[in-house]
């Protein structure tokens, strides 16, 4: 009873008016709160982008369907691609990086907390701007509302001749604004990792997640810059009479392709390297073994970072490059298979000889390994330029990059959600619902994206709102669409699990997975200052050293 009288005033101060709490969230500079804002924001857009995909799949369920008009379909695939890349996966990646990196390197916040908040709100504003086009872009000619030039917006379709009204401007400005947000966050992550590690944590003793995010951030700075430059050039073309990409006045459509893909391909690695990072934290903990070949994993990541910057024109094998240029980009593209293969083998070796517990995060990581292997192998097919002359811009490509973005990246992100949810909320999620989510999503994913390869091989190009009967594409498109139902159900289970567990879940405790990195030494959820005493580490697994004083890691590293 006496505890009641002590606890009572505490809860009273905890319950602030809603307005105050919202005000705290909007003005926060706490890396953990900003991380959660990124994640919440991205999940909202994930649902929106998913609905757009669902409508497209209904339209393609049979030949000559007329569920939506070609104009609407073209807006849908443009918005779906732009949303998923820039306003779902990027914020998810940045959200986890924001939340985890200071905790994992023993810091109390990011290097520049206010820049951090500024970057988040820029990104958030960028996403809103894109969707404001639905209201605002019904321009002078009443032509179009949402952008409809495709997510890579090839010139000259974006010129004022072919894109009247303002929908393309909303697209351009939205990416320009969120691009500055991304660069700000990347600079912040770089500085935090390089300058704010706790005593004893040399670069070689960082968790792999920090290493991989370091490489990712470097790539963001290098890749977003040309995209930003290209957007500015496009604005100059559209409003100041420039002719960079205006082919009717001697501009170059191919130059836009180079600008876009010199951003676009590194972007794939910007998104997938954090996925590797999640797998590199989750697989060891659930296999109960240290990561196999840590130095090699770091080297392979850096290697991917460098080679990943020099493969962009494999998106352009069909634009009529010389045979020498084609051959060079075949070589660089295939070379990237080597460090990537090394990573897969190292994850396998980490599992080898372990005691693997198939909790939900681990299930998603095993799914990731399987699907990323296939995505890599179809990537080799597309990297062989002549094969790409057939497969490029077909549904095979669509299947391939969804294998990367959904099968690999989204699977590891789901794994990361389940793995760190107890840390972020202080509650355990429901393992039953988690497994249900995994199986539903796995079945849906494979129905959709395995069978999507086939119409590509049978000659079905992407971005067509309908197709002719008699091409042998109908049945595959039907299966692909049915798979979406399972993915949607899985996503619903995921959201229900998060919401239900947040309110009703069991208390998680500080270290539910018996894990080894510093974030698990803080309470769940961690206090605003993270660590009351800044920790000192001696190895890559500081909590292993604490738990096994007789057999610490630092003796072997």
């Amino acid at each position: 009873m006496s505890t009641d009288s002590i606890a009572w005033p505490q809860t009273e101060t905890a319950v602030q008016p809603l307005v105050d709490r919202l005000h705290d969230w909007v003005t926060t500079v706490d890396h953990k709160r900003l991380g959660i804002l990124y994640l919440g924001y991205a999940l909202v857009f994930l649902v929106i982008g998913g609905i757009e995909a669902g409508i497209m799949r209904i339209q393609l369920i049979r030949a000559h369907n007329d569920f939506v008009s070609p104009q609407v379909f073209n807006r849908l695939f443009t918005m779906h691609g732009t949303t998923m890349i820039f306003f779902v996966v990027m914020p998810l990646v940045f959200g986890f990086a924001n939340y985890l990196i200071p905790l994992m390197i023993g810091a109390r916040d990011m290097a520049f907390p206010r820049l951090n908040a500024f970057s988040f709100w820029l990104t958030a504003f960028g996403g809103l701007l894109l969707y404001l086009s639905l209201l605002g872009a019904n321009g002078l000619y009443g032509a179009g509302n949402a952008p409809d030039v495709g997510w890579f917006a090839y010139a000259p379709l974006t010129s004022r001749t072919f894109s009247v009204g303002h929908s393309t401007d909303f697209w351009t400005l939205s990416l320009l604004v969120s691009g500055f947000g991304s660069i700000g966050t990347a600079v912040n992550i770089l500085t935090t990792i390089l300058c704010m590690r706790c005593p004893g944590m040399s670069l070689a003793k960082m968790p792999l997640l920090a290493w991989l995010n370091l490489v990712m951030s470097g790539m963001v700075v290098l890749a977003i810059s040309p995209l930003t430059a290209a957007q500015l050039m496009l604005l100059v073309d559209r409003y100041l009479g420039g002719h960079f990409f205006d082919t009717q006045a001697g501009g170059s459509a191919v130059m836009w392709m180079h600008f876009f893909w010199v951003f676009g391909h590194p972007e794939v690695y910007v998104l997938v390297i954090p996925g590797f990072a999640f797998a590199s934290e989750i697989i060891p903990v659930f296999s109960r073994k240290a990561i196999f070949g840590y130095p090699v994993m770091v080297a392979a990541t850096i290697c991917i970072g460098f080679i990943g910057m020099s493969v962009w024109a494999h998106h352009m094998f069909t634009v009529g490059m010389s045979s020498n240029a084609n051959t060079f980009f075949v070589l660089s593209t295939m070379a990237i298979a080597v460090p990537t293969g090394i990573k897969i083998f190292n994850w396998l070796a980490t599992m080898w000889g372990g005691k693997i517990e198939f909790k939900t995060p681990m299930l998603f990581c095993v799914g990731f390994l399987f699907q990323f292997l296939i995505a890599g192998l179809t990537g080799i097919m597309l990297g062989a330029a002549p094969f790409d002359w057939q497969l490029g811009n077909s549904y095979f490509v669509v299947a391939h990059f969804h294998y990367v973005i959904v099968g690999a990246i989204l699977f590891t992100i789901f794994g990361a959600f389940y793995y760190w949810f107890p840390k972020m909320s202080g509650k355990m999620y429901s393992e039953t619902l988690g497994k249900l989510h995994f199986w539903l999503f796995l079945i849906g994913f494979h129905m959709t994206f395995d069978f999507m390869h086939i119409p590509g091989v049978l000659g079905m190009p992407r971005r067509i709102y309908t197709y002719e009967p008699g091409r042998g594409w109908d049945v595959w498109n039907l299966i692909v669409t049915v798979g979406v139902v399972f993915q949607a159900l899985g996503t619903v289970v995921f959201v229900v699990n998060l919401v239900w567990s947040y309110f009703k879940g069991a208390t998680a405790g500080s270290d539910p997975w018996d894990a080894w990195t510093l974030e698990w030494s803080t309470p769940s959820p961690p206090p605003a200052y993270n660590f009351s005493v800044i920790p000192t580490v001696q190895s890559r697994r500081p909590l292993w050293d604490l738990k096994h004083p007789d057999d610490p890691d630092w003796k072997y590293e």
């Binding site: 073209n74 070379a335 080597v338 599992m351 693997i356 390994l369 292997l373 062989a384 309908t466």
Partner: protein
């Protein structure tokens, strides 16, 4: 290391079997006149560039399939063998931090595979790209428009649209067709999967492609680069004909349009409305170039870039309400009276 050596010899066996199965399937496919599964199946090649690509594809598929089998077996084995047992003693497994020998092995072996794949690929790139037109080659200029194809035979004096005619090429005496690819507006891509890989048509950036179809027949494809609202109905039809039939087609296309001296009512309507701003009928005042040349319209099986069969009903509907056949196409609804529509349709049907 021992384990990996063993796997590799297995890999070779698997690979050989796989190549054998696939190549016998390919031979079967080549003997079939009707392509299996789809008229646009990339694995039913009928022309040298598509065949070179097919050969490379089978090699790449075999190698990747072998890698897939090996890695998935390892993954499945690890997931089953090393799962936590119910009777687990609760102790941590032995901690292994890495092994330089193993790392070197799974670095060097992939490098060797990559080198092999790269060399095979580089060879096919050269085979397809480094071919220049021979003396007896047919030359065609294909111009992409939103959302139709213009074909010009500069040496033969023929201009047509949407249906490309080429002679069959006997491997003993090849008569390949070289296609120069231009664009009048946005990016497009020329893709007839059974004849060759795709090549883009980009404004200010002339490209080229070549085909030498070995079998007579109709080959289908469609635009493969998003080019605007009606990208989906910018269909490709390539008619591969015996040499003499092709010559007859050329002769027929070179004929001036018949009956230019007769001024029917339909012709009067056609020549006094906006039709002539975009369409050409040679020998008349109609000389627009924005839309397809209609001089020999009736020699074509389809209208609207393959979106509809060339029947009088479809032709009439296309003039009256193009958005029914192809919403978003640049052909405007002509707002004619029923009588004028009938007359214009009748006139167009004389353009043989």
């Amino acid at each position: 290391m021992q384990m990996r050596g063993g796997k590799n010899s297995n890999t070779v066996d698997v690979l050989d079997t796989f190549v054998f199965v696939l190549s016998s399937a390919a031979v079967a496919a080549a003997q079939n006149t009707a392509p299996p599964l789809s008229p646009t199946n990339i694995f039913a090649p009928a022309s040298t560039p598509a065949e070179s690509i097919f050969g490379l594809s089978m090699f790449v598929l075999s190698v990747t399939a072998a890698i897939f089998v090996v890695v998935v077996s390892l993954l499945a084995y690890a997931a089953v063998k090393f799962r936590k047992r119910n009777n687990d003693d609760g102790r941590e497994p032995p901690q292994v931090y890495g092994s330089n020998q193993v790392e070197v092995a799974w670095t060097v072996i992939p490098i060797l595979i990559v080198v092999a794949l790269f060399m095979a690929t580089a060879r096919v790139i050269a085979d397809v790209q480094k071919v220049s037109p021979s003396a007896n080659a047919i030359e065609v200029v294909a111009i992409g428009h939103q959302f139709w194809w213009e074909y010009r035979y500069p040496h033969l004096g023929v201009v047509t649209a949407n249906e490309l005619h080429v002679p069959v090429s006997d491997p003993q005496h090849p008569t390949p067709t070289f296609i120069r690819l231009l664009s009048a507006d946005t990016d497009h891509s020329f893709w007839v999967p059974r004849l060759a890989g795709k090549t883009d048509l980009i404004p200010n950036h002339p490209n080229s492609s070549w085909i030498d179809p070995h079998e007579v027949g109709l080959y289908l494809g469609q635009c493969a680069q998003y080019c605007g609202t009606q990208h989906a109905k910018m269909l490709l039809r390539v008619y591969v004909q015996p040499r003499d039939e092709f010559e007859r087609w050329i002769q027929q296309q070179r004929q001036p349009v018949s009956g230019t001296d007769v001024v029917s009512e339909g012709r009067r309507v056609f020549e006094s409305t906006a039709c002539i701003n975009c369409h050409t009928v040679s020998g008349t005042v109609a000389n627009g170039r924005f839309g397809p040349d209609l001089t020999h319209l009736m020699s074509r099986e389809t209208i609207a870039a393959g979106a509809a069969l060339n029947t009088p009903e479809n032709l009439r509907l296309w003039i009256q309400k193009p958005e029914v056949i192809k919403p978003g196409s640049l052909m405007p609804a002509m707002e004619l009276t029923d009588r004028e529509l009938d007359a214009v349709t009748a006139y167009l049907e004389t353009l043989r």
